[in-house]
């Protein structure tokens, strides 16, 4: 019979509640919130404990093997000296393994301090070159830019910029194509194998493919193409979820709405923009949310390989560097990557909620 009336009342109120500010029952919720906060805190502490224990275990294993090696190669006296050196915590003989939480905290402070130094350096450089640059600008010459090492914070922003460009590329490719193939069943069939085959391809391979193409296209220009390569690769890797969701959303519009469009004889443009797209928007945004997550995840791997600046190359350089605090810095980067990914997902979640507001309640 009627589809609208068969929605159970409980489901309706549940979905309404989700959107209402829960100020009214905050009091009733408070114990629950306190409990879940407590559980979260306890599990974090447990995590830190396990981390601490395993890092100290790995530290001792590494230390023992180092002493044994010295013992075998240079004799007992040198081994004793090594044992003493390790016990004293001297940097020259520190075992290099999984860093402890304390070391990671220290490394993060170091990175921040480093950022401050570099920012100060940059500001100084800017002040110094301001006059010269003004002259050069008048003469139509290239400006003198700061070419020093980027700080960790700079790398984060570079990565965010890359992922934003990649996301926009995915958006502008996947949504229009998704709409077009959603509208036409034959096109959907034609694209199906393409999507099925290329969706599972690894980010690394996409990077190589993009590299082949961009390299040829930018022959003769000496600009830095690594940013372009990584942004395009990120876009290509992450667009599939949006492409599939858009085509599904467009092709599965409620038949009643289509009938309204048919009876009113709406033109194709009106039909798409007033009936089909509004109906598909919740699914499209679900796809975009997945796309953002995937884009951020593959970005690190791609930056690492493409040698384009960003968190990925930061991690790789630190690994190659092999300094005493390199491992700790890698772990800092890991947390930062995870946290930013979490924030991006949250942002997309709220956008998704706000656009699917109408649909969820109807």
């Amino acid at each position: 019979m009627s589809q609208t009336t068969t929605i159970p009342a409980s489901a309706k109120t549940a979905s309404i509640k989700r959107f209402l500010p829960s100020t009214t029952n905050l009091g009733a919720k408070l114990p629950g919130m306190a409990r879940s906060a407590g559980i979260t805190l306890a599990s974090m502490l447990l995590f830190l404990l396990i981390w601490q224990l395993s890092s100290s275990y790995l530290y001792s294993v590494e230390a023992e093997s180092r002493i044994d090696r010295v013992l075998a190669e240079q004799g007992p006296e040198e081994a004793e000296a090594m044992r003493a050196c390790i016990a004293s915590g001297d940097i020259s003989c520190k075992p290099n393994t999984l860093p402890s939480p304390a070391e990671v905290v220290k490394a993060s402070q170091l990175l921040l301090a480093d950022h401050r130094t570099i920012s100060a350096d940059k500001a100084e450089f800017k002040a110094k070159t301001a006059g010269v640059n003004a002259q050069r600008k008048e003469q139509g010459l290239d400006l003198i830019t700061y070419t020093g090492r980027p700080s960790f914070v700079d790398q984060i922003f570079t990565s965010l910029k890359t992922v934003a460009v990649g996301f926009l590329i995915a958006l502008f490719i996947a949504v229009p194509i998704g709409v077009i193939i959603g509208l036409n069943e034959n096109l959907r069939t034609a694209f199906n194998w393409f999507i099925q085959v290329f969706k599972p391809v690894s980010p690394v391979v996409w990077l190589l493919l993009v590299f082949m193409i961009v390299k040829t296209l930018t022959l003769g220009s000496d600009s830095d193409t690594s940013f372009l390569i990584s942004a395009v690769s990120v876009g290509l890797c992450s667009m599939w979820a949006t492409l599939v969701n858009t085509s599904v959303g467009v092709s599965s519009v409620n038949k009643d709405y289509i009938n309204v469009a048919k009876v009113l004889k709406l033109g194709i443009g009106k039909k798409i923009f007033k009936v089909i797209l509004p109906s598909a928007i919740p699914l499209i945004f679900t796809g975009l949310r997945i796309t953002v997550s995937v884009a951020w995840m593959v970005l690190i791997a791609i930056e690492l390989l493409a040698q384009s600046p960003g968190l990925g190359s930061f991690v790789w350089e630190e690994f190659q560097n092999g300094a005493n605090d390199s491992n700790a810095k890698i772990i800092v980067a890991m947390f930062v990557i995870g946290f930013i990914g979490f924030l991006l997902d949250r942002v997309m979640y709220y956008i998704q909620q706000s656009v699917s507001f109408e649909k969820a309640l109807s």
Binding site: M1, S2, Q3, V260, V263, K270, P278, E358, L361, S362
Partner: protein
């Protein structure tokens, strides 16, 4: 006699092909005259919606033809407006926008101010002015159906089709809306076709009632003329001898047909020859016994 506004000529409609073919309507012949209010009553599953969709043009007959003013119907058009049973309002639009979608489409040449005035007039007509800026989710079932009615009437259709428009509403709202639809209809006396499963509703509203046979391969039953004076009063009708007589006749006809249809289907079904699987005796039983 003038050309009927809708004419069914030997129309049959089936879904599927070959063994899966289900014939819903069989050999329908029907003429709907200009200005009349026709009600078609039938049980659920007798093909009422199929019948109305053949008139809108959303469906094409498998056999025979449906004519609109003497011309074959090839697709839907706003001149044959339909009120859907499940309202079919677009949830992302407000009441105003839902009506505006139809008005903008049908009167694209009108100046914006005239269109707006027109839209507001029809929203007023169905008593929804306070809800103009509300979205369907904020409306009750009755209000949704009023919006849907305003949307159709605002396009001034030549033929008004109603596919169980009040089927999903409670009895009180139903009664109110019946009277409102009649009031609006009698204001300009367009041709109207009401599809319903409620015989009383049909008698109250229509000039002519045709029952639809239940079950597969439905055909149309004999027509019943309702010669009750308009405007009709619901309370008075209940004691009117004519009303009672027609009502009994139609109900008897439908019930009798329903019984016949049931008898027809009363065949014993062949049960599959299966033995229940007992726990422990399945093919994996040896595994358990071995261990």
């Amino acid at each position: 006699m003038s050309t009927p506004i809708i004419e069914f000529r030997n129309v049959s409609k089936w879904y599927g092909e070959g063994e899966n073919r289900t014939e819903v309507l069989s050999n329908i012949n029907l003429k709907i005259e200009e200005g009349e209010f026709l009600a078609i009553v039938g049980f659920t599953g007798s093909g009422k919606t199929t019948l109305v969709n053949l008139m809108t043009g959303l469906l094409e007959p498998s056999e025979g033809e449906v004519l609109y003013r003497g011309e074959r119907i090839t697709g839907p058009a706003p001149e044959r407006g339909i009120i859907f049973q499940n309202y079919s309002l677009l949830p992302w639009f407000t009441v105003y926008q839902n009506v505006a979608l139809a008005v903008d489409q049908v009167y694209p040449d009108w100046p914006a101010a005239k269109r707006e005035e027109h839209i507001r007039r029809f929203i007023e007509m169905v008593n929804l002015t306070p809800a103009t800026e509300k979205r369907p989710k904020e409306l009750s079932g009755g209000m949704k159906q009023r919006t849907s009615i305003a949307r159709v009437l605002a396009t001034d259709p030549d033929l008004l089709l109603m596919d169980e428009p009040l089927g999903a509403l409670d009895a009180l709202t139903r009664g109110n809306l019946q009277e409102e639809i009649l009031k609006i209809w009698s204001a300009n006396r367009r041709t109207a076709v009401l599809i319903t499963n409620d015989v009383d509703e049909g008698i109250f509203m229509a000039d002519r009632i045709i029952p639809l046979e239940p079950g597969e391969r439905s055909g149309l039953g004999p027509e019943y003329r309702i010669n009750l004076e308009r405007p009709r009063n619901k309370k008075a009708l209940n004691t009117d001898p004519d009303f009672k007589k027609v009502r009994t006749e139609i109900l008897n006809y439908l019930v009798q047909l329903g019984e016949a249809a049931k008898m027809e289907r009363d065949e014993s079904l062949a049960l599959p020859d299966l033995q229940p699987i007992q726990p422990g005796t399945s093919s994996f039983g040896w595994l358990r016994r071995a261990s």
